[in-house]
């Protein structure tokens, strides 16, 4: 469904090729979109769930045999509609937008929770390709909430790479919260770089631990977005526009927005509310 020129900030209509069950409610939606093929790990697309909403979604895959994917957890009308779509249904996609993670060699630690695992999957692949030693902490509330576990297992399949599963209730892997696992890891291993995406309070705790050890962090934040192109301002985090300057902020930027990071955001009326 293309073949005619269109504006780069206009939704391109693509078919859902597959909607894969991720958890009881979350889905990974595969589609074919030329522009998404060229995206870098950490970038996002605006996904139009027609009749409901248009939302930013990190790419969980850029080029999986020619297909791209987003992993969606249902919250409101938009994400619920996305999770109900079947193969053959259509969505709109514009982007990719935003910055991307900076892959570093050496010993790296990835910390993902919930749907925040999504952008870390293509990142972990890139990191392995450039020769980094990858430790991946993949967290969820229960064993049923772990996202993209199959992908992670495929990529992190043998030493020196290490996949650590963490659940709040211990129904899979280590019992506890992701930051607990990070604390114990940092106590016994040298880590050169941390990448994180997930609930903001989790990322804040990870960041604070990393600061104690002076380990650089790149964290991918979430904010409501309207335009995704630097106009509406609703994705503000301090002086940064998350759609343009983010969604990934580094340690220096995170320090600059220390008051907001893990604490508050704007809602769709521009009111300051807790994250």
């Amino acid at each position: 469904m293309s073949g005619y020129p269109t504006h780069s900030d206009r939704p391109r209509i693509v078919k859902v090729e597959e909607s894969r069950i991720e958890t009881e409610t979350a889905r990974t939606i595969f589609f074919r979109d030329e522009a998404s093929l060229k995206a870098k790990p950490g970038q996002f697309v605006m996904v139009w769930a027609m009749g409901a909403d248009e939302m930013p979604m990190s790419l969980a895959a850029m080029n999986d045999k020619g297909r791209s994917a987003v992993t969606v957890k249902p919250w409101g009308p938009g994400s619920n509609l996305l999770c109900s779509l079947k193969s053959g249904d259509v969505i709109g996609v514009r982007g990719p937008y935003g910055n991307s993670f900076t892959p570093k060699k050496g010993s790296v630690l990835l910390v993902g929770g919930g749907s925040g695992v999504a952008p870390l999957i293509p990142l972990s692949q890139t990191l392995q390709e450039i020769g980094a030693k990858v430790t991946f902490v993949l967290a969820g509330k229960t064993s049923g909430d772990l996202m993209l576990l199959g992908e992670a297992k495929k990529i992190i399949s043998k030493p020196p790479h290490n996949l650590i599963i963490v659940t709040d209730d211990g129904s899979a892997g280590v019992k506890g919260l992701a930051p607990d696992a990070v604390r114990s890891l940092l106590g016994k291993e040298v880590v050169d770089q941390i990448y994180s995406c997930g609930p903001e309070k989790m990322m804040r705790m990870v960041f604070d631990l990393a600061e104690e050890k002076r380990i650089p962090v790149e964290a991918s934040l979430e904010r409501p977005m309207e335009c995704a192109i630097g106009l509406c301002g609703i994705c503000a985090v301090g002086k940064y526009l998350l759609c343009r300057d983010g969604p990934i902020l580094d340690s220096q930027q995170l320090k600059a927005v220390s008051k907001e990071f893990g604490s508050n955001r704007l809602d769709r009326a521009g009111r300051v509310v807790p994250v």
């Binding site: 504006h7 206009r10 335009c227 509406c232 526009l241 704007l266 521009g270």
Partner: protein
């Protein structure tokens, strides 16, 4: 973050006086574009803007429309954000955290004199340099251009606000009216200190695959390069018909666009959509370009080129 070149930031040639306000440069941030937090307003000033206009604020908090609220079209963008804002009380509190004296202009909307008169007690203590009345938003029922297309209503609202706030009041006009000049004249007679021209043009776009309008609100406002010739025409017509200064807005993203606006009769320009295409460096880019133009054409100040096209 891009810093403006020191010369463009400090050159007195760029400085303009409008309605009693002195701006170090004639390039302003337009209403509704990033101006929703004090940090973002400050960043625009740090990037070289001579003044910044806030997002349009109303009496009550109001959520934006569901997305899609912005979509790209040839030569521009359509938006129907829906005037989402935290309400005058909360926003005024935010502004109080900023240094006093910053060149901030607060944009306001309302459904008629009543809304505006209820905002005035709060506005009296809001630390801004002036107000811009958004009587021109094309996509929200009962406010914006629905107020601003009636000269009598414009007159009522302007005189009421003017009496209440005792600060410069600019009126932002829409091209979607019978006569933009008539509206500007009504504003002037009611005591407005300046006119901002123009807001977006009411517009629509449809996705041909799914046959549905793209914006959730169906209708939105067209901005960007597509509307610059309309804006230039409005600025020319208004500035040749009123005595108060005109601020040109619509499709300005490069220095040459800004110079065209100034020649058409604008005393300053505002940039909205240009932020999407150029980022924050849009302000310093325009300022530096204007400065070069002034030097190359032998002018001592921006003010010397305002309205020069009128003599032909």
């Amino acid at each position: 973050m891009t810093k403006a070149a020191p010369e463009a930031l400090t050159s007195r040639k760029l400085s303009v006086r409008i309605a009693g306000l002195t701006l170090h440069a004639p390039t302003m941030l337009a209403a509704g574009v990033v101006g929703i937090t004090t940090h973002l307003l400050h960043r625009a000033l740090d990037s070289g803007a001579g003044a910044v206009v806030t997002k349009s604020i109303g009496l009550q908090p109001r959520e934006s429309y569901r997305n899609p609220t912005v979509v790209g079209v040839e030569c521009g963008y359509l938006n129907a954000i829906g005037l989402g804002n935290p309400g005058v009380e909360a926003f005024s509190e935010q502004l109080k955290k900023l240094d006093r004296g910053l060149p901030i202009i607060m944009s306001l909307f309302g459904s008629g004199p009543d809304d505006f008169s209820r905002m005035i007690p709060i506005l009296k203590n809001t630390p801004v340099k002036g107000f811009e009345l958004n009587l021109s938003c094309p996509h929200v029922k009962g406010v914006g251009v629905e107020v601003g297309q009636d000269p009598e209503m414009v007159s009522k609202v302007v005189s009421l606000v003017k009496r209440g706030v005792k600060k410069p009041v600019f009126v932002k006009v829409s091209p979607n009216v019978d006569s933009v000049v008539e509206i500007a004249k009504a504003a002037e007679s009611a005591g407005a200190d300046g006119i901002t021209a123009i807001n977006t043009l009411r517009a629509m776009t449809i996705d041909i695959e799914t046959k549905r309008p793209v914006l959730s609100n169906k209708f939105g406002g067209l901005s960007g390069s597509a509307i610059r010739p309309v804006a230039v025409r409005c600025v020319y017509e208004i500035s040749t018909s009123v005595r108060i200064p005109v601020i040109g807005c619509g499709g300005v993203s490069k220095w040459s666009d800004a110079v065209e606006m100034l020649l058409a009769g604008a005393s300053a320009v505002q940039v909205g959509t240009g932020l999407a295409t150029q980022g924050y460096s849009v302000f310093s880019g325009i300022n530096e370009g204007i400065l070069r133009y002034l030097d190359e054409h032998g002018f001592e100040s921006v003010e010397q080129i305002v309205g020069l096209s009128h003599s032909f």
